[in-house]
Structure formats: C-alpha cells, structure tokens
C-alpha cells in the first residue's frame, strides 16, 4: 500500500446496494438529475471497509465477516474472515470476476450465467456485485413524487429498464431528498411482480457522507429468506497498493 492514485475514478462499491451520497442542495428535481446525482455521488477514489453478511434461509442463520478494498470504478477485492470461508477472496476487475480459494491451486473465473449464482448462499448474487453504476444508460427514470420514509422525506423514483441485459426490469427507489441516500428499493419484473426489497436500517457517516451501515435485503419470492448487510467500519480514500487488485496478488 504505497502510492496514492490521484486520478479521479468512480467507485463501484463492491457490495450491492450501498450507495453513498454527499449532502447536496435541493435544486435537483428531475428524475434524471436525481439519479445522476445518486450515481455521481457513488464516487470514491479508494475505500477500505469491514463488515458482515448475515443470511437466513430455511436451514437457519449464518454470518460471514469480510474485509473489502475498492479502487476506482471497477476494482474491488473482498476477503472473508469468518471461519467457514476464511481466506476466500473475490476479485473484481474490469469485466471479470475471480474467486480465490485457499485450497485451490487455480483461480475460478466466473462469467456469463455463472455470475447469477448466489454468493455464500445469500440473497446477493455475484452479478449484483458487478452491476455497473450507469443507471441512466439502462433505465428510464420517472419521478413519482415525494413520500416520507421513516420520518425522512424521499423522492420516489421508478426506473424502467430500456435494455434486457439488466437483472431487474423495474426498480422503485426511495431517495433521501437531502443526502440522496437510497432508503428503500423494490426490484420487480416487467409485470410488476416484486422480487426483492432492500431497506436501510441504520446509517453511518464517513468521509463526510451518510451511507447505509445496516441494510436488509429480502427475497420476496421466498418466505423467511433475508440477508442483513452490516458495515462495521469504512475508511474513505485510504492509501492502497494498486497491486491489491491484480491476479498475481490474489494468492498471497
């Protein structure tokens, strides 16, 4: 971890729906502007975080803990620290996803349909992690109005997919009118069938931004199935070694 990369890059935060916003003025009113802001504000140079994923399914509850590093728009690395998967790593670089397992002598590269598999049996798929944050390229946004969500005023925006290559044809987002945090999101099929629901339970402040620290993701098609994502710490713009995100380095 030596050099500080000065180039301004968009960070795609590795774990799904943790969208980060800077406080901003309330002048943005069109749906496109709100979404653009939401995407724009998901901007980090680098980050380091620790947290856990708690998954509940028909067999009970299990918790995995992780450390995660990210850099720029596309690079991220997650290392699991919980006993059951200690040492396993997931590396995402531009366009590819690699899995590293301590007992395997080669990396497993996931692509295509294999990315649709669930990560650690949770309601999050590998694909959810690799989702590009260019929302407006793939979705048409319509501002439905404003609505209070847990005492917070939110814009309610419906996103309708303009391409078939995204997982969720319809998304409904509740975005904080002040800090652009997505408090709640509903993911549906084109026919409006609710598939997944995300809700932010608590927030934390880091680097002057309000971000979700505890999120619940529910698979609405399965009863008693949900995933809690918890962020214990987040370091914004730490100095990271660029080599972290290389294949050679994955095997340390």
């Amino acid at each position: 971890m030596c050099k500080h990369d000065k180039s301004k890059k968009h960070l795609l935060f590795p774990l799904l729906l943790l969208l980060v916003f800077l406080p901003s003025n309330l002048s943005a009113v069109s749906a496109e502007e709100i979404i653009q802001k939401m995407d724009e504000l998901a901007t980090f140079e680098t980050s380091y975080s620790t947290g856990s994923i708690q998954t509940k399914d028909r067999f009970g509850t299990k918790t995995s803990t992780f450390n995660a590093w990210s850099q720029g728009e596309s690079d991220s690395l997650i290392e699991f620290t919980s006993t059951a998967e200690r040492g396993q790593k997931i590396l995402r670089t531009k366009g590819s996803l690699y899995l590293f397992y301590p007992d395997a002598e080669e990396l497993i590269r996931l692509q295509g349909a294999a990315l649709r598999q669930s990560m650690l049996g949770s309601d999050i798929s590998y694909e959810d992690m690799t989702e590009e944050k260019n929302t407006l390229d793939n979705y048409k946004a319509v501002l439905e109005g404003t609505e209070a969500f847990k005492d917070t005023m939110c814009y309610v925006i419906t996103l309708t997919a303009t391409t078939r290559s995204v997982a969720y044809p319809v998304q409904k987002l509740w975005i904080d009118t002040e800090n652009y945090l997505v408090w709640k999101a509903q993911y549906s099929t084109a026919q409006g069938r609710l598939l997944k629901e995300m809700e932010v339970l608590s927030t934390l402040e880091a680097g002057g931004r309000v971000i979700a620290s505890e999120t619940r993701i529910e698979d609405k098609m399965k009863r008693d199935s949900h995933t809690y994502m918890r962020l214990d710490s987040l370091e914004v713009n730490p100095v990271l070694d660029k080599k972290i995100f290389t294949l050679e380095n994955l095997t340390w």
Partner: protein, 418 residues
Amino acid sequence: MKFIITLAFKNLSRYKRRTSITAVAIAVGLMMYLLVDSILIGAENESMRNLRWYETASARIHAPSYWEDRMLFPMESSIENPDAVLALLDENGWKATARTVFTADMILYSEDFGEDGNMNVLVTAIDPETDNDVFHFSDTLIDGRFLEKGDENGILIGSWFAEDINAKVGYWITLVARGNGGFYEAMDMQIVGILNCPNPNVNRTLLMMDKDTAGYYLGMNQAVTEIDVLLPEHEDIDVEMAKIQAKIEASHLDLEVHSWKELAKDYLAIAEAKRGGTSMILFLVFIIAAVGISNTMLMAMYERTRELGMMRAMGMSDNNIRLAFLIEAGGIGFIGAVFGIVLGLLANLYMVNVGIDFGWMMRDLDMGYRIQSVFRGAWSMSSFIEAFVAGIGLSMIVAWIPISRALKMDIPSCLRHQ
C-alpha cells in the same frame, strides 16, 4: 430328378404323423426363438424409444454456441428464426418441433403445497400443436388436460415429480427465471395436467409449458433454444443427419445438428453392456430349439433305415437316395419353418400390439408409482429370415448324418434295422 422330388414329397404326405411331429418341433422351436428375440429386442427398443420419444427426439438442432454450454441451458445461444428452419425441414419431409428449454426457480406456496419452498427446475416450453409430431407426451396424460396453443398459465408436471412435491392439478406455482439478456421474470402457473412419462429421468423432473407464453415472458422474440426432429426409425441415422446438415448449410443457416446418440451417450453405454446378457439368453434359446429340431429329425431318419435299405436293394443310386431323403428333410424343415414363422408372426403380432401386462405381479410391490408394466415385442425382419433359413438348413444338415450312416451299412443290415 423329377422322380426323386416326387418321391420325397410323396414320403412327406405318407408319413403324416412323423412329418407333423417333426414339423411341430421345428415350428415351436422357431416360434419360441422368434418370441424371445422379439421380447428382448422389444425391451431394448422400448428403452431407446422412450429416450427418443420423451427426451432427445431423433436429432436436435442448436445454435452453434449452444452445445458447449448445454449444461447451463444458455438462452442467449438461440435459434433466431425457427420458422424458417421448420419450413425447411417440412419441405424435405422431416417432422420437427421447436422448443425452448430454460432453468428457473420454482416457488411453491403453503396454500397449496402445505409448505413454502423453492427449487431449481428445468422447464421445457413446447408448441402444443406440433410437439406430438415428434414427442409422445400427450399420450401419457394421467390427470387434467394437455397444454393448448397459447396456454397462458398452464403447466404440466411429471407424475414422479408431482408425487415428490405433492402437487395436484389446480395448484399454483411461480417460476422465477432469467429472460433472454438476463432480466428477471416471474410467471404464475397453474398445474393443469400430470404426465406419467415412461422415461424415469424425465418423469422425475418434467415441467412443460407453452412455448409462445414462455417466449413472451422471456423476451425470446420468436427465437427458440432447440428444434427437435423426428427421423423415420428404419433410416440410417447418420445418413439422415448428414442430409439435414447439408440442407441447413445450403440455406445458409448457422446451426448444428446432433443425433440422439450424441445426446444420450452415457445411456447408450449402459444399454450396450446389458446387451451381453441378452445375447447369452438368446444363444441358450437357440440351443434348445436346435436340439429339439435335430433330435426329432434324427429320430425320424433313423427310423427309416429299413426303407432306405429297400430302396438300395431295388437299385437306386446312393446319391439319388441321399437327395430324396434330404429333400424330404428339407420339406419337413420348410413346413415347420413356415408354420414357425406364421406362429411367430401371430404371437408377435400380439406381443407387439398388446404385450404382456405384468402389472398384476407388481401389485404387492410397493412401488408407489404406476410404472410401465407392459412388455411389448418388436419386429425384426432379420430374425425372421434367420429363423426360416435355420429351420430348413438345420433339418437338412441333421438329416445328413443318419442318411450317410445308413448308406454306409450293407443292405441286409439296413433291412434288419429296427
């Protein structure tokens, strides 16, 4: 020469009882051989046929990139213009149907199933109007109704699968699948029929819905993942395959054809191993039949030593005598073989069309499933020809031995022979 033939035929009708007993031995032997052969071939054909009727069809056409990823059922590698391919096949006299196969998460609800649940399933979307030209699913319906063209919510389920998850006609399920491109789609489907497919592999996993409905939900735009082709059973599959491939290439379609043999390689390997046992059984049947035939023939000829001696005493040449007796033996063989073939034909007609239902034997067998319980035979032209030739040939060869022995004896011993 004419005399010898007349003599031989006269002898045939003179010793009616002897002729008929020997002929019966031959006829029964041949018939039994034909029947056992028919049952064994029938059993094997049946499993092969079940494979083609319910799983692979005769041949399958895919987009070129599909084969490599076939285990993942990639929707993206689809046939864009199935109608053109179907028209091309139809022009050339091949029956074919288009299908879309996709994986889905099947959601079960406690309201119907008593418990919530979900599982990964494979769904086959068919064209209800043409699927039966190639496959035979509509014959296996045991409850409810078959799919209709454009059936919006109807889904069919295999009976073993239905038992496993406790599904009944009228129950609702939801299929969550990824459409062409990767988007999520959910389809609420109602079980409208239960199929008892004789192919256990299929019966355990089968889910079937309408192709147009699936195509609409999954954004297929008329595309399908496969086109299944039926080839006449008597044609050489490899020749036909080459023809199809040639036609496809001539029409500048970028598609691949795979035969059912490629599609079901593992299965065929096991069937091949089983064949060893059946050939052994067939061999044993042949042995008994051959012994039966040769025994009666031997006896029939030995008993005629005196007559043979008489003919020699009267100055008939050895060669002529031999010929007369051989023709007689061949005549008996012919009569027996004809009867054997006719009996075999009749018995086989029954075996092929009706079969032996051994379901009653299964009653105490706690299977829980109504498995195919009828044995059916199969037609095998070559077996009939083999049996016919063997019947006549064996009779003549066997007759040779006692005739030659008698011809070597001196005439008085022949005449004294008991």
